[in-house]
């Protein structure tokens, strides 16, 4: 008989015992280990996914910030450029104004210098004219300039037209105090007497005169009454001389002509 029933039963029991043994000592520990590891891996994967999501969010935030920063930088750059251009224009404008002001002040100073120079020349010319005239008259005609000026003034009084003579006479007569008679130099007593006589004779009254000397203001002889003035001076001579001097000074201050274009072309 191939089948021994006791052995069959014993093997069945043995097999069931083996099932129990392997279940407790093999399958359960292994399956538990696998489950625990799978849970750990799943947890790590979830953690990694969360980290990836966080990293992606951070990257997105970073890119957004970068973009915002770029925009802000561009805006600030544009503003800085605009500000710089405005400041540049303002500085250039101020410099131009300052340059214009300097040019104007220089021109005014030059003009002032020219005026002062002209006045000085005029003064010097006047002195020279007087000196030359005085010398010439003394040497050639044995007449002093003062005498001659006094004569000319006396003759002018006589040559006045009626209307002027009347108005001048009224002014001299109505003057409460002595009318000033200014001359560039001190008149000799003879001249004073001659002039006084001529005045008295011309206006038919005793004209009170106060003699004054002012070489700077008067270039000849001048009688002043309220609202009236009678004078003879070398102003006309000096005016023509002044024009000549002015023309000369203007020519001197003109800028040098530029080099010939032909020379430049070479």
């Amino acid at each position: 008989m191939l089948i021994d029933w006791f052995t069959v039963i014993a093997q069945m029991v043995n097999f069931l015992i083996l099932v129990w043994l392997l279940k407790h000592f093999l399958y359960k520990p292994i399956l538990n280990a696998i489950d625990t590891r799978e849970k750990g891996i799943a947890s790590k994967l979830a953690d990694a996914e969360a980290k990836v999501a966080s990293a992606q969010k951070q990257q997105a935030d970073f890119e957004a910030k970068n973009k915002s920063f770029d925009e802000q930088r561009d805006a600030m750059k544009a503003k800085a450029e605009a500000d710089a251009k405005t400041e540049h224009d303002r500085i250039i404008d101020a410099a131009q104004k300052q340059a214009d002001g300097l040019r104007a002040s220089e021109a005014a100073a030059l003009k002032d210098d020219q005026a002062h120079q002209a006045a000085a020349i005029r003064r010097m010319a006047q002195d020279q004219v007087f000196a030359i005239t005085r010398k010439t008259l003394t040497d050639l005609a044995s007449v002093t300039l003062e005498e001659r000026i006094g004569e000319v003034f006396t003759r002018r009084l006589g040559e006045m037209n009626a209307k002027d003579k009347y108005e001048m006479g009224a002014a001299l007569k109505s003057s409460p105090e002595a009318s000033p008679l200014r001359s560039a130099f001190t008149l000799p007593d003879e001249q004073k007497t001659a002039i006084q006589n001529a005045l008295n004779e011309t206006f038919s009254a005793v004209i009170r005169v106060r003699y004054e000397t002012d070489a700077n203001a008067v270039s000849g002889i001048e009688l002043t009454a309220p609202g009236q003035k009678l004078s003879w001076s070398i102003s006309s001579y000096l005016d023509s001389f002044d024009q000549s001097v002015a023309a000369m000074v203007t020519q001197e201050t003109k800028p040098e002509p530029a080099a010939a274009p032909a020379a430049e072309a070479k």
Partner: protein, 235 residues
């Protein structure tokens, strides 16, 4: 020459006896239980695992996957029974490389015992899944006429299971024994290697067939649904 290891009796007292099959089985059980205890003593759940743990995990997960492929949706319920079937038969076959060893599966008593275990386990699992009525009803499927044929099928497949494993295991050992007497050198080694392969295949077949029987018994028939035309389709 003994045809089966049952006939080598070490101790007997009336009906009780201690033959080579039982002793070898105890030895196998001891080795497997001790091996399992030693191998699962230092299991790690994080980081790098040892090669032994990796090998064990591969064996267990492969068994699980095979049981699932058979049609058992929750393989862990059946892993202890089917997995032990496979490991016991496979270990018995693997040990034929040990000189003087006679596998317990070479004994028809052992294969019959395993087949009877399957024979008992199938209705137990079926009843657990479907209830007694539901399970018994499967014998009358598709018609009541099939009841005797189903019962015969149940008995015959258990017999076939036992005999198949016995025949294959015994034939392998027998062939090796016979060839050993004829050509004592190279050829028996080749046949032993072939016997190893045959043993593994038999272990696999035995386990898969047991799984298929259990799957057939535990398969809950789905209620047939009658399609109802929708109002839109009707209009």
């Amino acid at each position: 020459m003994n045809l089966t290891s049952d006939q080598l009796i070490f101790w007997q007292h009336g009906f009780l006896k201690l033959n080579q099959t039982i002793v070898t089985t105890w030895a196998m059980m001891l080795v497997m239980a001790l091996g399992a205890t030693l191998l699962t003593r230092r299991l790690v759940t994080e980081g790098k695992i040892s090669r032994w743990q990796g090998a064990l995990e591969i064996i267990i997960t492969t068994l699980e996957a095979q049981i699932k492929d058979v049609g058992l949706a929750e393989p862990r319920r059946y892993l202890a029974f089917l997995g032990t079937l496979f490991l016991f038969v496979a270990t018995c076959a693997l040990c034929i490389i040990i000189p003087g060893y006679k596998p317990p599966t070479e004994s028809l008593s052992t294969t019959a015992a395993l087949a009877l275990c399957v024979f008992i386990a199938v209705p137990l699992y079926g009843i657990r899944e479907q209830g007694v009525g539901g399970y018994l009803k499967t014998y009358t499927q598709p018609t009541i006429i099939m009841l005797p044929f189903n019962i015969i099928s149940e008995l015959s497949r258990t017999l076939a299971l036992a005999v198949r494993l016995f025949g294959n295991m015994m034939s392998g050992v027998m062939i090796v024994g016979i060839l050993l007497t004829i050509t004592p050198f190279l050829f028996p080694i080749v046949m032993t290697a072939l016997g190893l392969l045959t043993g593994m295949v038999q272990a696999y077949i035995f386990t898969i067939l047991a799984g298929v029987y259990i799957a057939a018994a535990t398969l809950v028939p789905k209620p047939q649904s009658v399609p109802v035309p929708s109002p839109k389709a009707a209009s």
